[in-house]
């Protein structure tokens, strides 16, 4: 081991979090190399071409959660980051009574004055709850035993926000709803079934949850917290543009990026990580190894159970990480027509979620290894704002379809086409003639996402974001502060706190932790 090599920090996986972590470390003077298995970095933030001339965001397709602190710290705008125009959410109605859900205001012909007022109050109240959890976000989650100063400070801030930030009434209400399900909460607040479903959709998309699943208030807050910082948008060029900006920032900070370099093994001697071995057999030494991969890949494949205590390995093994969303990419020869929607409106985030029972029934199928008979759809047509994504006059549509369980009873191989047909049939009901406009289509089931993006179970968030897999229990206690039982091995991906979404925060927090520990020198 040469001394130069021993000072190198290796990051396994160049997803958005790996890039963020790498850049922070490089800016602090560490020599960082990223090893990415795919041909491009960015992970779930990517732009892919699924048919000749048609491009679309490969996995994540809406930008809503990139941390503003990270954008500033890493000068991402200088590196070319473009957020694109802010978009609203529009819940589609078959009779043209669509609802528009803005940050603070909801509108639509079928919406009562009472619900409009309730919506504004609800959003403000719940954003306050989300704000209360802020102290937990940009820090390592505090340990409850053997706390250090940072942990005490984090808990202190959380306590202060809870007690004095919210005030007595809101704190009591927050503690009441924090662990329960979104279904009950929305039924207390609203009358309009479609409005309730559109909000509930935010709580369940990407999770193995229906509106009645406990913990759905937490997943909703997780999404809502981003409204504190800004609005959702469709970035020009697709999510790959975010990856490009991150990659550019990383390179200018001095990070070396190697693509097509799939790590096979994290090398460990006497409980300490000292390098990695690639599939090609090549070995690279490292002072520390940081894994952007999910917890199961990191510990059970790259490290291997033999290097770990038995119960630690077992607990990693039993974390829930089976994806439940399929992604359908559709190439269209013309713009779909939805009655009552302007072209500008068609370019927003569209939801097909008529009522909460519809969502719950859609989820019921997933419990038993079936795809939803009537799926919940989140639709974007990014080519409206960015015509470069498709040939002249043509369009691309990107649909996240829930629910599509990773472990489909009959296996995905034979069900792929029928599920695509099902999704298209649902869209057709809202946009007559839609199916005749289709030029090409591509369905990514969770099994495909697993294979293409190297994510266990094809789970967007590298593991369910339920309360028992969050905060100081993400991915499991004993590895929840970015360091792991293996000395010199760290986690920086969505498997770590605060979890999934194109936030960059796990990467940021991991870098802060590594720097605070003085590791990797």
């Amino acid at each position: 081991m040469t001394s130069a090599a021993s000072k190198q920090v290796i990051i396994v996986g160049g997803g958005h979090n790996g890039l963020v972590c790498a850049t922070y470390l490089a800016l602090a003077g560490r020599k960082v190399q990223i090893l990415e298995a795919r041909d491009e970095v960015g992970g779930g933030a990517s732009t892919t071409s699924f048919a000749e001339g048609y491009k679309v965001s490969g996995l994540a397709h809406i930008l809503y959660s990139l941390s503003p602190k990270i954008c500033t710290d890493l000068k991402l705008e200088t590196a070319g980051l473009q957020r694109g125009a802010a978009i609203d959410t529009i819940a589609l109605d078959r009779d043209g009574q669509h609802l528009t859900l803005g940050v603070d205001e909801a509108s639509g012909a079928g919406l009562s004055q009472q619900d409009r007022v309730a919506y504004t109050a609800f959003k403000q109240e719940f954003r306050n709850y989300a704000r209360t959890l802020e102290p937990l976000m940009m820090n390592k989650p505090p340990r409850l035993k053997d706390m250090d100063r940072t942990d005490l400070l984090t808990l202190g801030k959380l306590g202060w926000k809870l007690r004095f930030g919210l005030g007595t009434r809101s704190m009591r209400e927050f503690l009441r709803v924090g662990g329960i399900n979104i279904y009950d909460v929305l039924n207390e607040v609203f009358d309009n079934a479609q409005l309730k479903a559109a909000i509930a959709a935010d709580a369940v998309i990407g999770h193995h949850m229906g509106p009645r699943t406990p913990s759905t208030v937490l997943t909703y807050l997780n999404r809502l917290r981003w409204e504190i910082h800004g609005q959702q948008s469709l970035p020009p060029g697709g999510m790959g543009q975010i990856a490009n900006a991150l990659s550019k920032a990383a390179k200018s900070a001095g990070v070396t990026i190697r693509t097509g370099a799939k790590v096979q093994k994290i090398l460990i001697d006497a409980g300490k990580a000292y390098g990695v071995q690639l599939h090609s057999g090549e070995r690279l030494d490292a002072a520390i190894v940081i894994s952007n991969a999910d917890a199961k890949i990191t510990f059970l494949e790259l490290v291997g159970a033999l290097e770990l205590d038995a119960m630690f390995a077992q607990r990693i093994h039993t974390t829930r990480s089976r994806g439940n969303v399929a992604k359908l990419h559709v190439a269209l020869d013309s713009l779909p027509q939805v009655s009552g929607l302007s072209t500008q409106q068609l370019g927003q985030r569209l939801l097909i979620a008529p009522d909460m029972r519809y969502l719950e029934h859609a989820f019921n199928h997933a419990k038993y290894g079936e795809y939803s008979e009537h799926p919940l759809l989140e639709i974007t047509v990014p080519s409206i704002a960015d015509p470069t994504l498709a040939p002249d006059g043509h369009h691309v549509m990107s649909i996240s379809a829930c629910f599509a369980p990773y472990s489909l009873k009959q296996g995905w191989e034979r069900q792929r086409e029928s599920f695509s047909d099902k999704i298209i049939a649902v869209v057709e009901r809202y946009a007559p003639g839609f199916s005749t406009q289709i030029v090409a289509r591509e369905l990514l089931t969770p099994v495909d996402i697993e294979a293409q993006y190297n994510i266990t179970g094809g789970h967007w968030h590298h593991g369910e974001m339920t309360i028992d897999q969050s905060f100081m229990m993400r991915p499991i206690h004993g590895a929840a502060q970015y360091d792991t039982p293996i000395a010199g091995l760290f986690l920086c991906g969505a498997a770590a706190h605060p979890g999934g979404g194109v936030t960059g925060i796990p990467g940021h927090n991991a870098a802060q932790r590594i720097l605070a520990m003085g590791a990797g020198l």
């Binding site: 205590d309 038995a310 119960m311 390995a313």
Partner: protein
């Protein structure tokens, strides 16, 4: 990949709460006082006739005990050795075929789950014997390994033949080739046409063997042994768990669950024990590849242990049952007696005790506060205790090879 082969259900009458061992038809005849208890669900005798005669059979002639209820697991497959070496704290990579070794295993926190023995039966094929049921932990420990773990508790009948004349009895019963069998050795042999595995192992500190065979041979094996007695050659007696408890404490062997709380059954913090805390630091090997609990045990170097299980000889003739221990007569409380017996051969009260361990030192003085009854009147007395670093009792014939024919 793990393969679990389901044991065929042992057939027994549902109204019979405790399972009869394959030796039960004979045991039932020998057990005169019907003092039964459950050992891993098997109907097991505490005492057959009188405790004293059973104890002295072990120490002066030959004893036979039914070992069938002991938990037994067959471990095989390409990763069997890696699996075992990751499971236990000892380095078992050098365990040769036909050898046996004593092991303990820990949870992630380095606290002892159980102890037992690993038998290397044939190249790459092992039997793990344990005090308590361990299948869950074994399966958890096998994640990601190509190993087969089969519980074979009910598929192997076993007898312990222990005592000064054990070798002579077995030879007279027709076993050949035992003269060269060293302690912790295994011999695969035949008796009257059926397969028997003999291991020179035991829980008594004396010369002794354990016999392992298919349950269908159980009665034939038993009859071959007791035929020696019938022919008037050597005396041998069945012994129950009470006599075993006496000799195992004399021999300094610990009993998980009695002498210390096993980690799996511990709820309260600090009530479980590491190998160092129960005096088994010598089996921990930090030089071998990773094993479960290694990091936690390494951390004990920074945070030294504060309790130790010790072998204690207690003065006087009052039994120190459940006694508190103090650093002087009416001094500060520093520990408790866990198990204790009266040793007829040493004429002493012997005990396993959990005591304070400060700055790497055992207490200088230990006094037991002993409550006892005189004609239903409670009395209290104090007895000084002495820590023994070595087993209270052992005998050179335990390890002599070839054993003396006597």
């Amino acid at each position: 990949m793990v393969s679990i082969i389901q044991s065929p259900l042992v057939q027994h009458d549902a109204k019979q709460v405790l399972l009869p061992s394959p030796f039960h038809p004979r045991i039932e005849q020998h057990c005169l006082v019907k003092n039964w208890m459950s050992w891993n669900g098997y109907q097991t005798a505490r005492v057959y006739d009188t405790l004293a005669s059973e104890y002295f059979a072990i120490r002066s002639s030959c004893s036979v005990m039914d070992l069938t209820p002991m938990e037994k697991y067959r471990i095989s497959g390409p990763d069997a050795l890696s699996f075992l070496n990751r499971l236990v704290v000892r380095d078992v990579s050098a365990l040769k075929p036909n050898r046996v070794t004593y092991v303990v295993w820990c949870n992630d926190e380095g606290k002892v789950l159980d102890d037992g023995t690993i038998f290397h039966l044939h190249q790459g094929e092992y039997r793990l014997c344990s005090q308590h049921h361990q299948l869950d932990w074994l399966l958890i420990s096998s994640l990601g390994m190509d190993v087969s773990i089969v519980e074979e508790t009910h598929e192997v009948a076993a007898l312990a033949v222990q005592g000064p004349t054990a070798y002579s009895v077995l030879s007279a019963a027709g076993f050949d080739g035992l003269d060269q069998l060293k302690p912790f050795g295994i011999l695969h042999t035949q008796l009257d046409g059926f397969e028997v595995m003999v291991s020179r192992t035991g829980y008594t500190g004396d010369l002794g063997y354990e016999l392992w065979t298919n349950p269908s041979n159980a009665l034939a094996l038993w009859d071959a042994l007791f035929g020696v007695k019938q022919r008037g050659l050597y005396d041998l007696r069945c012994i129950g768990l009470d006599a075993l408890e006496m000799v195992r404490i004399e021999a300094g062997f610990i009993m998980p669950g009695d002498d210390f709380n096993t980690a799996e059954t511990t709820v309260r913090a600090g009530h479980d024990r590491s190998p160092f805390e129960i005096g088994l630091g010598w089996v921990v090997n930090f030089d071998k590849p990773h094993f479960t609990g290694k990091q936690a045990l390494l951390r004990e170097k920074d945070r030294p242990i504060e309790r130790r299980l010790v072998k204690l000889a207690v003065e006087g003739n009052k039994p120190p049952v459940d006694s508190f221990l103090y650093d002087g007569k009416k001094g500060r409380r520093i520990g408790t007696i866990k198990t204790q017996i009266w040793s007829p051969i040493l004429k002493a009260n012997l005990a396993m005790a959990d005591v304070e361990y400060r700055n790497g030192k055992l207490p200088v003085q230990i006094w037991a506060e002993i409550y006892y009854q005189k004609e239903l009147e409670w009395q209290v007395t104090w007895a000084q205790c002495r820590i023994s670093d070595v087993p209270f009792w052992t005998h050179p014939r335990r390890s002599a090879t070839p054993p003396q024919n006597c």
